[in-house]
Each structure stands twice: as structure tokens, then as C-alpha cells.
């Protein structure tokens, strides 16, 4: 069951690289939130009840509900629906994503040993690379924001591979991560859209030497 969920998670990452509509981004991030909730339920059942409830509630509330809701609100507010202004090929994004997937598999099998859950590590690495690809290849800030959320979700997934051993610290770290994510989203929705009148990252280049 866990493996199926992880594979579904990988599919969401591949789909993120080729989709053009921001609404799909929000839906995929929401789907990732629900997948992480399910993985947490399956993976962390052996930890202390309070810690398990803490992880489940924060995953459900923030990753599956609040963050996607804020993303949808940003889309409504900025009225920008597509990744590019005009239709451009998604081939490069797909090629980058596939290359990242192959690199992640290669690295994972190269360093695999018994002390690490290789599937979680590999998928987390793929999520990290996918997030970085989104941030570096897309021009709109909203894509960057989604890239950051993809990285955060990947790190969360990996933390669950070892979460059973030190839940309290991992919980605090995850909570802080979520806090930062929400802060960034809040800042985006309340400030950047109003002040800079665009979500194009080229507008955010006034600070330079």
C-alpha cells in the first residue's frame, strides 16, 4: 500500500513538470498533501499516540487543506492561470524531470545500504530536484512557490522514513517548515500581488550591484 502511494506521489511530480495551468498545480499540491497524510498513517502507526496525532493533524490541516486553499486564492486574486503567457513546449520541462528521476534512481541505488529506506530517499531526492527545476526554469513567482512546496513535501516524506525514532524533534521541525510555507504564501497573497502588480519574477530584480 505504501509503495502504491509513493508511486502515485512520483506521478504527481512528473505531472507537475508538464502541466501548464496553475489550478492543476494547486490540485497536485493538495493531492500530495493527502498522499503524505496516508503515508504518515501507514508509516508512523508505531509512534506515541500524541506524536502521531500531531503529525496527522498538521499534515491534514496544513498540507492537504490550508496550503492548497491559499494557492487557489492566489490564483483567483492574481487572475493568472497559465505558466507561460503564450503556448510554449513542455518538452524541456518533461526532459528535465525525467533526467532528475533517472539521476535520483541512480544516486539512490549507488548509495543504498540497509540503514536507509531507499524508496523514501529516492523519491525525496526526486522531489528536491523537481522543486529546484521548477524554481530555476519557470519565470513566474507562483511556479517558484510551488517548487518550494514540492521540496518541503519531499523533505517531509523523507522525514517519515526515520520519523519513528525521534518524533518530537521531527514534529517541531515539520511544524516550523509549515509555518514558513504559510508565511511565504501569506506574504505572496497580501503583499507582492498588491505592491508589484505582477507575479512575474523579472519584476523582482531591482536589487542588484
Amino acid at each position: 500500500m505504501t509503495l502504491s502511494l509513493i508511486l502515485l506521489y512520483v506521478v504527481t511530480l512528473v505531472y507537475l513538470s508538464i502541466t501548464e495551468r496553475f489550478r492543476n498545480y494547486a490540485n497536485l499540491i493538495a493531492l500530495q498533501g493527502w498522499i503524505l497524510l496516508a503515508v504518515a498513517l501507514l508509516r508512523l502507526h508505531s509512534i506515541h499516540l500524541f506524536d502521531l496525532l500531531f503529525v496527522l493533524i498538521e499534515t491534514l490541516v496544513f498540507k492537504a487543506l490550508v496550503v492548497p486553499m491559499i494557492l487557489r486564492r492566489i490564483i483567483r486574486k492574481t487572475k493568472i492561470n497559465r505558466v507561460y503567457n503564450s503556448g510554449e513546449s513542455q518538452f524541456n520541462s518533461l526532459a528535465g524531470s525525467v533526467a532528475a528521476l533517472i539521476a535520483s534512481i541512480g544516486i539512490t541505488y549507488y548509495i543504498a545500504d540497509t540503514s536507509m529506506n531507499v524508496i523514501f530517499f529516492g523519491v525525496a531526492l526526486y522531489a528536491l530536484l523537481s522543486g529546484l527545476i521548477l524554481i530555476t526554469t519557470r519565470r513566474r513567482i507562483f511556479s517558484h512557490l510551488v517548487g518550494f512546496l514540492v521540496i518541503e513535501n519531499g523533505v517531509f516524506l523523507f522525514s517519515m522514513a526515520i520519523g519513528a525514532e525521534m518524533p518530537s524533534l521531527i514534529n517541531i521541525a515539520i511544524l516550523l517548515d509549515i509555518l514558513i510555507s504559510v508565511l511565504m504564501l501569506g506574504m505572496f497573497i497580501t503583499r507582492i500581488g498588491d505592491r508589484l502588480h505582477s507575479d512575474d519574477s523579472e519584476r523582482l530584480t531591482t536589487i542588484k550591484d
Binding site: I107, Y110, I111, D113, S115, M116, F121, A124, L125, L128, G131, L132, I135, I141, H144, F148, I151, E152, V155, F158, S159, A161, I162, E165, M166, L169, I170, I172, A173, L176, D177, L179, I180, S181, L183, M184, M187, F188, R191, I192, R195, L196, L204, T206, I207, D209
Partner: protein, 466 residues
């Protein structure tokens, strides 16, 4: 005690929200007094005492905390003058954020557990972002967005490295001591990947290659007294976080590889600093690139190992005193001219003789001219490179340091002696005490350059020996 200190800081930050405007400074002074009292208490009690499961008053943390206890009250004193025109609400928020930032940094210094270090480094991002956004202009918004975004991405990468170390240590916990014990029998590839991720992630805090840009933008955007802290005590937090992982790696077979990575990172940081110091036209970005350059030297010192580690630590101490003094003096320059644009400033010697002397002395110390403490550390690091037969590294360092000296000295001489393009604000009084307080930090650095008190020398020696 550390938990009590954190709770006390939260109480002070909360109290600052409710006290009348005239009571903000006395309440903040209470916090800085408590910070100094904690520093004295730790020194009197001796190092190596655990404070709780997650904190340890060790020598390295104590050294950095002592520096913060010295620099942060002076920075706040400058902030009171620098932000005197601000609305009381803004100044109150600024003070609260400074208190919380100092607390988070102190927690990073004394964390004995790698996850706790990570948590409080993330907390520093939140506090520092508030300081960067203090002016609420479009440029501040851009810098804040970038700061939060890049720091969060970097720290998420570092978290992946922490989790890898966590997987390595298994159920034995994430204290640095446990990690050092398990590192010798861990998978070398895991250690290498973990170190790379942590170094890349924490580079946004230590202001070294590759994520150095974000620190430069943050210093540019934050009020100068806050930049004095961001560019020194927060950078030290990044340094200490990487140094603790470096010590963990020391017991493993990948240590020579780790040292080489640090040397490459250091050279790239030095290169970036040297090139951009020549190019920039903004006083605070100029000082920030100097931080990148100096932290590059520190990374090279760690990479050299042996005496280089002592030199790296001593360099950090000297840099903290000098750079904070210069940032605070730059705040005075801004007050005089109303601008940070280097090509518009000049004739500072006739406007504020004390201030100009402070700038010149600080610059000479920053460029490692004797009796600067940086002279001692750089000579030791260069000696280390020669001792190891790394002549290419010696040559590259000397070349880049020459470029730095030319770039920095050229700009500061123009500030002090060239006719100014803008007239300074006529009604500005020199406020000599403020310049003298910045000069005091520089004098502390000079004192360290000519004489290292035995307790300090022992302290640094103890940290560098492992």
C-alpha cells in the same frame, strides 16, 4: 538555564508589545543585561556543562555567545538613534525582532543536537525576515521575499542532510557527540552527501558560496544596525553549525574529502567577494561582500585543518568585532548624507573626523594590516597552505587578497577625502558617542591583535583541538 533564558526572552518580547513607548528601551536593556549576565554565569561556572537534553554550554558556543553579548547591545544603542524617526509601533516591532533573533541565535550556539540547531536556524530566518522588511518599501519586500525563499529552500536542503545523518545514527539520537561516535562506522557516501547538503543549505546563513547572495541582499535591505548583527552574529551561527558538522566528520574516513570541499568553497567565496567588492556601488553591499570574502578565508582555514582551524576561529572573532563596528559606522555615514551610494559620498573627514577615523581604522583592520587580528589568522592560514605544499592555493589567495585590498581601500579613501556629490544634512550633529562606540569595537579587535588574554587563547585552543 538555557530554557529559562529562552522563556525569559519570550517574556521580554511579549512585554515589549504592551509596555508604553517610552519603556521599550529600558525593557530591551533588561534583555541585554540578562544576556550579559548569562555570559558571565557560563564563564564563571566553566564550559561543557549541559543545560538540558538539547543544549550544552560548550567552549565554541560560549565564545560566540560572548561576542554576541558584546556586539548586540552596541548595535541596539545605534538602532535607537538610527530609527528615531520611525513610528513607535515600528520601533517596538524592530526591538522585539532583535530580541527574538538574539535568542534564536543563542540557541543555535548552544544546541548540542543537530536537529535543534536546524530548528533554531530556521527560526532565525523568520526573525531576520522581519528586520529585512522593516522599511516596508518595494525593495525591502523583494529582499524579504528572496531571503525567506532562498533561506527556506537552503535550510530544507540542509534538513535532508540532517535526516541522512539521522538515518546513519539510527536510534542513538542526533546529539553531535553521538553522531561523532557513529560517523567512524557510517557509510562514507551518506556522510559525503549529508555534508554537501548541509554545507550548501547553511551557506545562506554563513554567507559563503553558493547561497551567499541572499545574505548580501538582506544586509542591503535591513537597517544598518540590524545588518551589523546579520553580518556577524548570524553569520557566526551559520559558521558554528557547519563547524559542528565538520567536527563530526573529523572522526570519519571522509574527513580529507570534507576538507577539500571546504577549500573549494572558500576559494569560490573569496573569488566572488573580491570581484563584487570592486563592482558594487552601495556601502552595505560592499561590506556584505567583504563578509563573503572573510567567510571564504574561514572556510579555507577549516579546510587546511590543524593550525588553520585555530586561525579560522580567531578570524571569526576578529571579523565579528571589526565588521560590526564598520556597519555601525556606515549607519552614521547614512545619517550624514542620506545615501549609501558610494559614488555620491565624499569629504567625510571634514564632516565627522571621529567617524572618518573610525572608518579608516576599521578598513585597515578589515584588510588585515597589523595590528589587526585578521593579520594573525591570515598569516597562519597562508602558512598552513605553504606547509601542506598547496602553493596554488597560496598564490590564488594572495592574488585575490590583493584585489580585495585595492577595491576596499579605493572606496574608503574616496568616502573620506573626495569632494562629495551630495551635500550632507546641515542640521545633523556628529553624535560623537555613537562613532566612539563603533570605535570601541574596533579597539577591542586591535587589543586582540596585539595580545590574546590567556583565557581566550585557551578557549580557542580548546575548540580547535579535537
Amino acid at each position: 538555564m538555557m530554557i529559562a533564558y529562552i522563556l525569559f526572552s519570550f517574556a521580554v518580547a511579549a512585554a515589549l508589545q504592551f509596555v508604553p513607548a517610552r519603556a521599550v528601551r529600558p525593557v530591551a536593556a533588561l534583555f541585554y543585561a540578562a544576556q550579559a549576565a548569562l555570559a558571565v554565569w557560563i564563564c564563571c561556572r566553566g564550559f561543557g556543562q549541559p543545560s538540558s537534553s538539547f543544549f550544552l554550554f560548550d567552549a565554541a558556543g560560549t565564545l560566540m555567545f560572548l561576542l554576541m553579548a558584546l556586539v548586540s547591545p552596541v548595535a541596539y544603542y545605534h538602532a535607537c538613534d538610527y530609527l528615531e524617526q520611525d513610528a513607535p509601533r515600528d520601533f517596538r516591532l524592530f526591538t522585539q525582532l532583535l530580541v527574538l533573533l538574539c535568542t534564536a541565535i543563542a540557541a543555535v550556539y548552544f544546541a548540542s543536537n543537530i536537529a535543534v540547531t536546524w530548528i533554531f536556524l530556521e527560526a532565525t530566518t523568520l526573525c531576520a525576515a522581519g528586520l529585512v522588511y522593516h522599511r516596508h518599501a518595494d525593495g525591502n519586500l523583494e529582499a524579504t521575499w528572496k531571503y525567506i525563499f532562498v533561506c527556506s529552500t537552503g535550510i530544507a536542503m540542509a534538513y535532508l542532510g540532517v535526516l541522512l545523518l539521522c538515518g546513519m545514527s539510527g536510534e542513538e539520537g542526533l546529539s553531535y557527540q553521538r553522531l561523532a561516535e557513529t560517523a567512524s562506522r557510517a557509510n562514507p557516501l551518506y556522510l559525503k552527501v549529508a555534508f554537501l547538503l548541509i554545507l550548501a543549505g547553511y551557506s545562506c546563513k554563513m554567507e559563503i558560496f553558493p547561497l551567499y547572495t541572499i545574505g548580501v541582499d538582506a544586509n542591503y535591505s535591513a537597517p544598518a544596525p540590524a545588518s551589523a548583527l546579520l553580518s556577524t552574529v548570524l553569520v557566526n551561527a551559520g559558521f558554528l553549525s557547519i563547524f559542528r558538522v565538520y567536527k563530526v566528520m573529523a572522526s570519519s574516513e571522509v574527513f580529507p574529502w570534507v576538507c577539500n570541499v571546504l577549500i573549494v568553497t572558500g576559494v569560490l567565496s573569496l573569488l566572488v567577494g573580491a570581484l563584487f567588492l570592486r563592482r558594487t556601488n552601495h556601502c552595505k553591499r560592499f561590506l556584505s561582500y567583504s563578509t563573503v570574502e572573510n567567510m571564504g578565508i574561514v572556510a579555507i582555514g577549516l579546510g587546511i585543518g590543524g593550525a588553520g582551524v585555530w586561525a579560522a576561529l580567531f578570524h571569526v572573532v576578529g571579523h565579528t568585532l571589526i565588521k560590526s563596528g564598520l556597519f555601525l559606522q556606515i549607519a552614521r555615514v547614512r545619517k550624514s548624507y542620506g545615501s549609501y551610494r558610494i559614488n555620491r559620498l565624499g569629504d567625510y573627514m571634514n564632516i565627522s573626523r571621529t567617524g572618518a577615523v573610525t572608518m579608516i581604522v576599521g578598513t585597515l583592520l578589515l584588510l588585515a594590516f597589523p595590528p589587526s587580528p585578521l593579520f594573525l589568522s591570515e598569516v597562519k592560514i597562508l602558512g598552513g597552505t605553504i606547509g601542506q605544499g598547496k602553493w596554488w592555493l597560496t598564490a590564488v589567495m594572495l592574488l585575490l587578497l590583493c584585489i580585495v585590498i585595492y577595491g576596499v581601500w579605493d572606496k574608503v579613501l574616496k568616502l573620506c577625502y573626495r569632494p562629495a556629490a551630495v551635500r550632507p544634512a546641515a542640521a545633523q550633529s556628529p553624535r560623537r558617542l555613537l562613532s566612539l562606540s563603533a570605535l570601541f569595537l574596533l579597539l577591542c579587535a586591535i587589543a586582540l591583535g596585539v595580545w590574546q588574554p590567556a583565557p581566550l587563547a585557551d578557549l580557542i585552543h580548546g575548540i580547535a583541538t579535537f
